[in-house]
């Protein structure tokens, strides 16, 4: 119900409500009544906004809505705050690559000191007749590789460790 809108580098958070008759946009304690009605023409609408009737053309893109209004085109970035929070969560991935099951290391793709990005393969293990590639849980620098090729390990063994994040 909440969205972050971005225009010209400025972000503002709004939420939308519908009181059974019409919509209202809320920003903090401020409230704006608004309605959008289709009009004649491709992507044409009339925006009723705070007592004004504003004809406009509109196209919804990926992550942004483009609006032609009053002779000019604008880009309004539309962000679901949940996406941003989920993104923040991804950065909180652990520092270690744990063995999901006992097995043997087949190959190691990085060395201590290497910079890795999230999802980059760290090592390949074999277990239960199946090779599995284990990847970096987050971006960072490799601090330690626990086992070399051919070495076997137990469940939850620390196969690799990333250097702690600074700050």
């Amino acid at each position: 119900m909440r969205r972050i809108f971005e225009i010209g580098g400025e972000e503002r958070e709004f939420w939308l409500s519908h009181d059974g008759r019409g919509y209202a946009l809320h920003e903090g304690a401020r409230q704006y009544s608004a309605a959008l009605t289709p009009a004649e023409g491709k992507g044409a609408y009339v925006l009723e906004y705070e007592g004004r009737r504003i004809p406009l053309r509109l196209a919804v893109g990926d992550g942004a809505t483009f609006i032609h209004l009053n002779g000019r085109a604008w880009e309004v970035g539309v962000i679901d705050p949940a996406e941003r929070l989920a993104g923040a969560g991804a950065g909180a991935g652990g520092d270690v690559v744990l063995a999901p099951m006992p097995g043997v290391v087949v190959s190691v793709a990085v060395q201590p000191g290497d910079a890795v990005v999230e999802g980059q393969p760290i090592l390949v293990i074999e277990s239960m007749k199946l090779e599995t590639t284990l990847t970096a849980p987050r971006g960072g620098r490799v601090a330690e590789i626990g086992f070399g090729p051919g070495e076997s390990f137990g469940l939850k063994a620390v196969l690799a460790r990333l250097a702690p994040e600074e700050g």
């Binding site: 705050p81 949940a82 989920a86 923040a88 969560g89 909180a92």
Partner: protein, 536 residues
Amino acid sequence: MRRFQSRIDTNAADYKENYAAMTARLAEFHARQHAARYERPQRDLDRLARQNKLGVRERLKLLLDPGTPFLEFSTLAACREYDGEVPGAGVVTGIGIVQGREVAIHANDASVKGGAWYPLSAKKIIRLLDVALENRLPVVHICDSAGGFLPLQRGVFPDRYLGGRVFRNQVQLSKMGVPQIAVVGGHCTAGGAYVPALSDYNVIIEGTGAIFLGGPPLVKAATGEEVGVQELGGAVMHTSVSGTADYRASSEQHAFSLAREIVGQWKRPAKTVIETAPIEDPFYDPKELYGIIPKDRKTNFDMREIIARIVDGSRFHEYQPDYGTTIVCGFAHIWGYKVGILANNGVLFNDSSLKSAHFMQLCNQNRTPLVFFQNITGYMVGRQYEERGITKDGAKMLMAQGGSVVPKFTVIANASFGAGNYGMCGRAWDARTLFMWPQAEIGVMGAEQAANTLADVKIRQLMREGKTLTEAEIAAIREPVLESYKRDIEAYTSTSELWDDGILDPVDTRNALGMSISAALNAPIETPPHYGIFRM
């Protein structure tokens, strides 16, 4: 439906006096509610900040759909217990809207004694889960509790309606197919650990959330093992090793955003269909209730004037307007929902009891929820009435009321005394919600009668011992009894003890009923209605 024609003169002196008296009462009420919600010792607020945790009210804000109502229950629970140091019994409960869905919310308030469960905390949580069971409302648990308050453990733990009942109700909900989600934003220790574990979904906040049967100190004492909170029951462990928790959140914001997404996955229940009409605001200003409710509890007033300021369009169809006139029965709409209303306009007599019983059967027959407005001092007593079978007619009313299959809602608008409380769907009679107005009183009888009865017993005993008492001595016996009894029948005592779901500002009654009725329609209405034996 015709509009009720009010006879209230808003310029009359008594109206104005009533209005002033109610306004003063409400100022106190709102101040007490505000204090119970927000005023905490600084050290408790500091501790929350230090732990990097949000307060329970901020958490609710993150959880609920913006711009939607939240019907909070029993804000002043425990206000007359534990020296007033456990505001709200340390729990926030209520019905709110998440992704358009009505949910029952149980949220620990860690700013009160670390969210520890007191006896009344358990009672409040169990009441909320009963509301969920009766109305089949999904539940959101926000867990952040130190566990049972040990010094009072005998009032928290063992009995049928104490701690264990919380988990028993969770199991029953799950069995009924009603989903639950827990957001673990603090510790869930011992029994509390079962709240997330028994929820269909749970989210745990990294850093602050932890779940364990025994915390680190208990583990050390029991087995000598030394282990930290995070390793023992932290978010990473539970989401990646034990599987006790489902989703790991990096922050409170993330946790509630996830919780909202999860609730958004739930099936929207097909609500029970009852008669509805387009929603209409009351024609008469609900604020006028303040001038209508007498400043003296004992002054009678026309309950129709109250109804007119709560129902849609102030429209009311009265049933049997000329029979059994001490009870007003009739149909109206509240937030569009058709309801059958019973409201006291005096003592219940034989005819008013019979009329009530008949009317309730009508409502059950056509699936119309019942709303009771109590202003009842009791059923009429005396030889004449007993001979006419007042007890038998009262029993018919109880049989009809207690046997009703439609949801019932009760507002104790003024007096709630004696068996009248039963007939008018008091707490024991499974009203889906029951609210009290701040000036209302509840007890087995009125304060004066009770004080006199108690004093008489004492005086007779003394007289039997051959003592004679002066007027002053009689008063000295009577006054303390009267004072203590008066306090016991006040709305604040009722709400402290959770005999109700909260005190309402009268103007909030319409919304509270609307929320309650809408929530109740998540559960089916059993058909056809059937009753026990009516004593004829």
